[in-house]
């Protein structure tokens, strides 16, 4: 495959590479990351370039690896009138995302009590296969929650009014219609609100070391001040509800494509015109699942605040437990972007990719509008995570999109062969990271060596200029499903 270097960290595959490509494919990566990417990424990013109505480029971010239909790390924007929507460009875990919460606590205060804290978080935040949600909801209440997202929780006392502006889209994607959601999805999700899930989902207690505060001024604007300050970060999505919405509509789209005369190179790229009844129904159902994920993370935040209050004997306000931001990294949204000199609405798909709006965008809350959007890049439990900030360059080049994490490089089975969960837990503890997991084999599957080096991913983003590094965060406690 012909891959041209466009800039230090931007690579392009021209549309002549594959029959049917409507636009070039662009991969953001350092040379090292590009060389290490699996062949699936190149196949998939060029397959996406063939979908009707795609605008400018089919993108893959530096943490990219193969996914279903779209690669993980894939970004594509479609014309709403002539283009498509594809569940494969969003992923099964709709609005899987990251939330970062600050505290006034320091490492000196938390370190001596970290075991107690992780135990308490493990008890208060349900995780793993078969975990039960925090609330018993009627079908009517559940549907209302999927319309309103995080606001539904805040109105019921699970959170603060000011949490909402620190969530992408203020915690609610407009246009959600629970009538477009199957009974199966409702029944699958109704008992799971406020659960973490399993796989690569986690909740972490983290610390910002002085050496890892790269941009003190921006950090300060985000509520990150002193060295050794403690944070809570969690990664989860819409749970069974979103998985079922995706499953249902993959089936619908698999059948509908014939009607619209669309052929795709991979069954997981099933799609329908955005304006078609199927496309609109899916968008409205996807918005419900996205709102469910925002609400899910809001409920988890509520429990995290309660738990910190109990352990440290001060209320969450006094502990300064404000949300820094909440980002969605599996989603499609209608956004306005500059294309060929004019502003235009496009349906941006981000799958394992994060919105990273630069300064000045009106979607950002006043507190961040002049600075740019905080971006949360979740790393493996061993290597740590990053806070970045959106740039003008991303608005010009990538529809305001960047990477989402570190990306796997080793299979789950290979990771389990390399290390036992208990040994990993012990070795992490020796390095100052206390881990509690529902499943020990599940813990081994998530070992740090199974992932790309997240710092390399961050370097690639800086080098391309689509996000800037603000702070690096290192885990001291971790809860896993």
């Amino acid at each position: 495959m012909e891959i041209k270097r466009i800039a230090e960290c931007i690579w392009e595959i021209p549309p002549t590479e594959k029959e049917g490509m409507l636009v070039p494919a662009r991969i953001y990566a350092t040379e090292k990351l590009l060389r290490e990417m699996d062949q699936g990424v190149f196949e998939q990013v060029t397959n996406v370039a063939c979908l009707p109505g795609i605008q400018r480029f089919s993108y893959c971010m530096p943490d990219g690896h193969w996914g279903y239909g779209f690669p993980i790390g894939g970004v594509a924007a479609f014309d709403p009138e002539t283009g498509v929507i594809s569940p494969g460009g969003i992923g099964f875990d709709i609005n899987c995302g990251m939330r970062l919460v600050r505290t006034n606590l320091t490492l000196q205060e938390v370190r001596p009590r970290i075991k107690e804290l992780v135990d308490a978080l493990f008890r208060s935040v349900p995780a793993g296969v078969g975990s039960k949600g925090m609330l018993k909801l009627s079908p009517g209440e559940f549907k209302e929650m999927t319309r309103l997202g995080a606001r539904w929780c805040v109105e019921r006392g699970y959170g603060w009014e000011r949490d909402l502006e620190r969530i992408e889209e203020y915690g609610c994607i407009k246009g959600a219609d629970p009538e477009k959601v199957s009974d199966h999805a409702l029944k699958r999700g109704i008992g799971q609100l406020g659960t973490l899930g399993s796989g690569n989902h986690y909740l972490e207690v983290q610390v910002a070391r002085a050496a890892e505060i790269y941009d003190p001024q921006t950090a300060n604007a985000f509520g990150i001040g002193d060295a050794d300050q403690i944070f809570v970060m969690f990664h989860c999505g819409s749970r069974g509800f979103g998985h079922q919405v995706a499953t249902d509509y993959l089936r619908v789209f698999d059948g509908a494509m014939k009607r619209y005369g669309i052929t795709v190179r991979d069954r997981e790229l099933a799609c329908a015109p955005f304006r078609s009844p199927e496309g609109q129904d899916y968008y409205k159902a996807m918005a419900c699942a996205a709102n469910n994920a925002f609400a899910n993370r809001q409920m988890i935040l509520h429990r995290v605040r309660e738990t910190f209050s109990q352990v440290f004997g001060r209320d969450a306000e006094a502990l300064g437990m404000d949300v820094i931001y909440d980002v969605a990294h599996n989603i499609a949204k209608v956004e306005r972007h500059r294309i060929d000199g004019g502003m235009k609405d496009v349906v941006v798909h981000r799958k394992g990719a994060t919105r990273c709006f630069g300064p000045g965008r009106e979607e950002l809350p006043p507190i961040y509008r002049d600075i740019g959007q905080p971006v949360i890049l979740g790393g493996s439990m061993e290597t740590g995570s990053y806070v970045l900030v959106g740039t003008e360059r991303a608005m010009e080049e990538t529809f305001g999109s960047t990477a989402h994490g570190s990306g796997r490089t080793m299979s789950r089975a290979a990771a389990k062969r390399k290390v036992f969960g208990r040994d990993l837990q012990r070795s992490l503890e020796e390095r100052g990271i206390v881990v509690k997991a529902v499943s020990m084999p599940g813990l081994a599957e998530e070992a740090g060596f199974a992932y790309k080096n997240i710092s390399e991913v961050v370097e690639a983003l800086e080098c391309a200029g689509i996000t800037r590094k603000v702070v690096g965060l290192k885990p001291i406690g971790n809860v896993k499903g």
Partner: protein, 141 residues
């Protein structure tokens, strides 16, 4: 076991190949492979019998529906299954009648592994072979 996991096919997830002399056996094998991802099957007792009926015009879509239905029951009814009996009839339209045997999830007692989010169409196939039927499935974790 009438199935095997394919490691290099799905780095972030789980892929398997399953087979059987007839469609019923294949569907039983695929169901076992799906639940073994989530739990040590040895520890799951057959306390509850769940009857499932499905139909589809395509045999491969019926397999997708069958595994998706089991994943749905895992969340909606908090069930784990460790034994299956599947009968499939059909000409033109495939009809499935199955019994899934298992019990409610007990986090304290069951040796749990990774949760399955969904069944995918990635590299998915179901084909007739000389010995019977064979399928490949990738599960999203």
């Amino acid at each position: 076991m009438p199935y095997r996991y394919l490691e290099e096919v799905a780095i972030a997830d789980v892929a398997f190949e399953a087979w059987g002399r007839d469609l019923g056996e294949l569907f039983e094998a695929a169901a076992l492979a799906t639940f073994e991802v989530m739990v040590d099957l040895e520890g799951v007792e057959s306390k509850v019998v769940k009857e499932i009926e499905l139909e589809n015009e395509e045999m491969d879509r019926l397999l997708y529906d069958w595994l998706s239905e089991l994943v749905y029951l895992k969340d909606a009814e908090a069930m784990l299954f460790s034994r299956f009996q599947v009968r499939i009839k059909g000409d033109g339209r495939y009809r499935l009648r199955a019994e899934a045997m298992g019990e409610e999830i007990d986090q304290a007692r069951h040796r749990l592994r990774a949760d399955v989010k969904a069944v995918t169409y990635h590299l998915f196939y179901l084909k007739k072979t000389e010995e019977g039927y064979r399928a490949r499935v990738v599960l999203d974790i």
